[in-house]
């Protein structure tokens, strides 16, 4: 029974279904329980949270990642699955500590001052949530000082900065500079991304990493975050 519920959670992550009202990859799934309803059943049945996460949620996302690499899934399919995992993790997050499970950590993301674009940042946010991180999204057009204050307050492992314009990408360097001046630079890794940003630019402003797209960004965050955990 417990394996059945966890298997169904895994299957519905693959199908990208949050609730019973959602369609799946194929038609005809409306009405069947989605990840939210199955999670309620799993918790009511007292199933181990570790199993729900590793075998159900992460197990499903592993398959989704493979399907994406094989060209079977596209970005929206990945987002649907990541959103389902994100919704489940929101419910599970408060129970992690009592279950003896370490959180993967906190990531702050923001689009820099004078830049109003946020779709790319949003995609990275949901993929990070799907990967099990707590994500604090500050929004777009965010003042350098607001970002520095958030880093001081929330102590994230990684700060993700986004810019879509050549006229605003330099602000990412301003943020790194401000972190240094505030004595916070050693406490947080910084990853940058956005259409005009390159690996070379990231290096030139002193960033720790660069994500060419959402999936690369998550991979880089995984590496950086594991390096900052004590």
């Amino acid at each position: 029974m417990s394996e059945d519920i966890i298997g169904l959670i895994r299957e519905n992550v693959i199908q990208g279904r949050i609730t019973k009202d959602d369609e799946g990859m194929e038609e005809g799934m409306v009405g069947q329980p989605g990840v939210s309803e199955l999670l309620d059943s799993a918790l009511a049945a007292g199933l181990p949270i570790r199993d729900i996460i590793t075998k159900g949620l992460s197990g499903g996302m592993d398959v989704v990642g493979q399907k994406f690499e094989a060209g079977e899934y596209f970005i929206p399919d990945m987002l649907a699955s990541a959103e389902a995992v994100g919704a489940a993790m929101e419910v599970l997050q408060p129970r992690l500590a009592s279950s003896g499970i370490d959180s993967k950590g906190t990531i702050i993301v923001a689009t820099v001052k004078d830049d109003l674009h946020d779709i790319g940042k949003n995609i990275v946010s949901i993929l990070l949530r799907g990967a099990g991180y707590i994500v604090k999204d500050l929004g777009n057009n965010i003042d350098t000082q607001v970002i520095v204050d958030a880093v001081r307050k929330d102590k994230p492992q990684v700060l993700g900065l986004s810019a879509l314009l050549t006229s605003t990408m330099a602000r990412m360097g301003d943020v790194i500079q401000a972190l240094e001046e505030s004595g916070l630079r050693d406490q947080v890794k910084v990853i940058v991304g956005g259409a005009p940003v390159s690996e070379e630019f990231a290096r030139s402003i002193g960033a720790d990493g660069y994500g060419a797209d959402g999936f690369q960004a998550v991979a880089v965050v995984e590496t950086l975050a594991s390096g900052t955990q004590s």
Binding site: G16, L79, D114, H117, N122, S125, L165
Partner: protein, 225 residues
């Protein structure tokens, strides 16, 4: 030289929306995403107010990296000059779908519904593109009635045309910008807006063939045509 503006009805193109959100042409669309696009497209018409405004002005001269347009409008761009030196007139336009759709997409994103926000954003991108196509068709009809032809659209922020030149576009429209305004960085609010120019010239092939990308060295530009 009066500014013309109007509202227009548009049709959302599902195939183009699929391309915007990352699908290629021959991919089998999942039922989940397909129903999401259908649902949001159905409601999008309540969230958009498709408007356009344009003015047609005489090209005084164009050489080097500068063009002077009737009304003391100065465009600084070598790529723009390559077009305007072929043209007698230039249409200067702005189109928008208003702010409600992007406000709704932003709220969805804040609520953690990123997939839904991405789909709605793509519908908005498609809608504003359709408004621009409509305005272009209207300008094309005016040109045709005078025995002239029009070029492709070209916007500040691409190739060597600095985004700061949005100020000249907006100055040319003498305040009739259908509710679109510029930020200090010359981004348009609402964001789902398009501004730019369309060259108008003789039907000798040069104006119609004009492609700004053929003059631009940015081979990796995502907007390359």
């Amino acid at each position: 030289m009066s500014v013309s503006s109007d509202r227009v009805d548009i049709e959302i193109d599902k195939k183009q929306i699929c391309q915007y959100i990352g699908y290629n042409d021959d991919h089998h669309l999942s039922a989940r995403i397909s129903s999401l696009i259908d649902d949001y497209s159905k409601h999008a018409h309540q969230l958009i107010n498709p408007l356009y405004s344009y003015v047609i002005r005489k090209v005084e001269w164009a050489r080097g990296t500068m063009a002077l347009v009737e009304g003391s409008i100065i465009f600084k761009s070598w790529v723009v000059v390559q077009l305007l030196e072929q043209c007698q007139q230039v249409a200067i336009f702005v189109v928008t779908i208003g702010k409600y759709l992007e406000d709704t997409a932003a709220q969805l994103a804040r609520d953690g519904l990123i997939l839904q926000a991405t789909v709605l954003d793509a519908i908005g991108s498609n809608a504003v593109e359709k408004v621009a196509e409509h305005a272009q068709g209207k300008i094309g009809q005016i040109a045709e009635s005078k025995g002239l032809v029009i070029s492709r659209r070209f916007s500040p922020g691409y190739c060597d045309w600095n985004i700061g030149q949005q100020r000249m576009i907006f100055a040319a429209l003498t305040g009739n910008t259908v509710g679109v305004r510029l930020t200090g960085e010359c981004l348009m609010i609402p964001q789902k807006s398009i501004s730019g120019i369309i060259g108008i010239g003789p039907p000798d092939g040069n104006v119609e063939r004009y492609n700004p990308c053929s003059f631009c060295e940015k081979q990796d530009c995502p907007g390359r045509r």
